[in-house]
Symmetry: C2
Subunit: 298 residues, 2 copies
């Protein structure tokens, strides 16, 4: 328990430190906000919310740690474990979403978490990439890094978690993927407590290697009003996914989670317009046609 | 049935015509998009979506008519009428959300609708106002117009529907009202089919009188970056309400409704930032303290 908590706090520090390094001298810094659930609430616990806004490279980047204890596992968590229904539980995790300023740099999401109850622990997490302008080599790099992080834990893990990610990050009302995917897993304990935790940590540890090279490669690309308009429009889809389909966000908001920490994932600015359509041969049309579909990216 | 359909199409035409008049010469015009559900889908029906974007006065204004028939009433519609569970039904309505450009002009929502099944019909609808900068006299005018529209149908209607509106347009995760309210009712048939319809139409007919005087009064007020920033931030709350709490939006998106028509309510541009706080004596702080609370506005 303590081991994983320490891992998570260290991971959060490493990632936010690396982002500040990307921001560089004179760039923005993370604000760190420690919070604690007031005594008397049903959920007890604490958290460390880190947020960077208005940066040179990142327009809004949120990275939150939280650790809560509750008297009773919610029914949604015990579908596969009826024997634990109503048991006291603990849940902890790190979750991040980074929204870059340059439309050529993709938005990214990563999460690692653990729930424990009745002496058992199960893990979840993953990472996925949401470009505004697609680059096949970036998608391949991101997926290869995910695959390599999972390889020591069995060859089946990447293909299973890649498919799970495609299924999870899907906007049914748009019939479109949120991005180019990555990996996602939940409710995971099949390797036993130590190896399941090691696998989860391997995913968390791979995050910077999966994402930063893409930031560095695309960060210098020139962009203007056209690219900015498209980015804002596509960010609207990100909002739609998170508020309509993401179970964690939706359930968190409806059940009294800490709103400002849950909504770290929201973009700084997002746009909607009616039936936007892009020329068939444009880079904007290519995004939906060639990137926001289920593909083998390796 | 035909009578109410004709009423709705006429109402839509009157309202969009009035908005175009406010836009004035050289202002924006509504685009009209007729749609029909493809044969073979479970829901059959048609609609007329009208949308104005990038106007002088209105940055995004959507006003949709739809009329659908289905083989089976959804369970959510039959909670209070178990005898109609699974019966074929018809539903039609007009729904609008207008997002003005000037932050001193409030956003507004109005909806009138009817569902019929098994020879019975029940009505729903209402209107509510969401200011960015509050003016007591505007709130009073809006509520008085609602009250007057309902007065011929019994003195109890306005207080009941005003309370219902406060309860419905509430962001639980922010513990805050969406705006200054108005009226809301659903599942209404207690006056019999003719008078229940007449009451619903009276609400629809009162919309322009409730809203346009406020637009005219505030439209000329000067605004700058500060007001724009606050408007964009508050529009984020509008998005949160509609995607997280509004049953119609959420259910529509999850159940295969026409996405672009459902999301007519989205603002053209919206912003999020972490724990924004405004000086205690500012107009921005006054909004949440004095306006986004349940109050008697008459």
């Amino acid at each position: 328990m303590t081991t994983f908590r320490n891992y998570l706090l260290d991971l959060q520090a490493r990632i936010t430190g690396a982002l500040e390094a990307v921001e560089g001298e004179g760039g923005a810094r993370f604000l760190a906000d420690t919070w604690q659930k007031p005594a008397g609430e049903k959920l007890q616990g604490d958290g460390l919310t880190k947020i960077l806004e208005g940066g040179r490279v990142f327009e809004r980047a949120g990275c939150g740690f939280s650790h809560v204890r509750g008297p009773q596992l919610p029914p949604s968590a015990t579908q596969h474990r009826p024997e634990l229904a109503g048991a006291p539980f603990e849940a902890m995790g790190v979750s991040l979403v980074f929204h870059p300023r340059n439309p050529y740099v993709p938005t990214v999401h990563m999460n690692v978490r653990m729930i424990s109850a009745g002496g058992a622990a199960w893990f979840g997490g993953g990472m996925d990439l949401t470009p505004y302008y697609g680059f096949e080599e970036d998608a391949t790099h991101f997926h290869r890094t995910c695959r390599d992080a999972l390889a020591p834990f069995g060859d089946d893990k990447y293909p299973r978690f890649k498919q799970w990610c495609d299924e999870y990050f899907y906007l049914k009302h748009r019939d479109e993927q949120r991005g180019i995917g990555g990996v996602f897993f939940d409710d995971f304990s099949e390797l036993g407590p130590d190896q399941s935790r090691a696998m989860t940590q391997s995913v968390g540890d791979a995050f910077l290697a999966a994402y930063l090279p893409i930031v560095e490669k695309r960060q210098g690309m020139l962009w203007g009003e056209r690219e900015r308009g498209f980015q804002l429009y596509r960010r609207g889809r990100y909002v739609e996914f998170n508020l309509v389909w993401d179970r964690g966000t939706h359930f968190g908001l409806q059940s009294g989670g800490r709103t400002e920490s849950i909504l770290l994932s929201m973009p700084p600015l997002a746009a909607w317009s009616y039936q936007r359509s892009d020329a068939a041969d444009s880079d904007e049309a290519a995004l939906t046609q060639r990137f926001l579909v289920r593909r083998d990216w390796l």
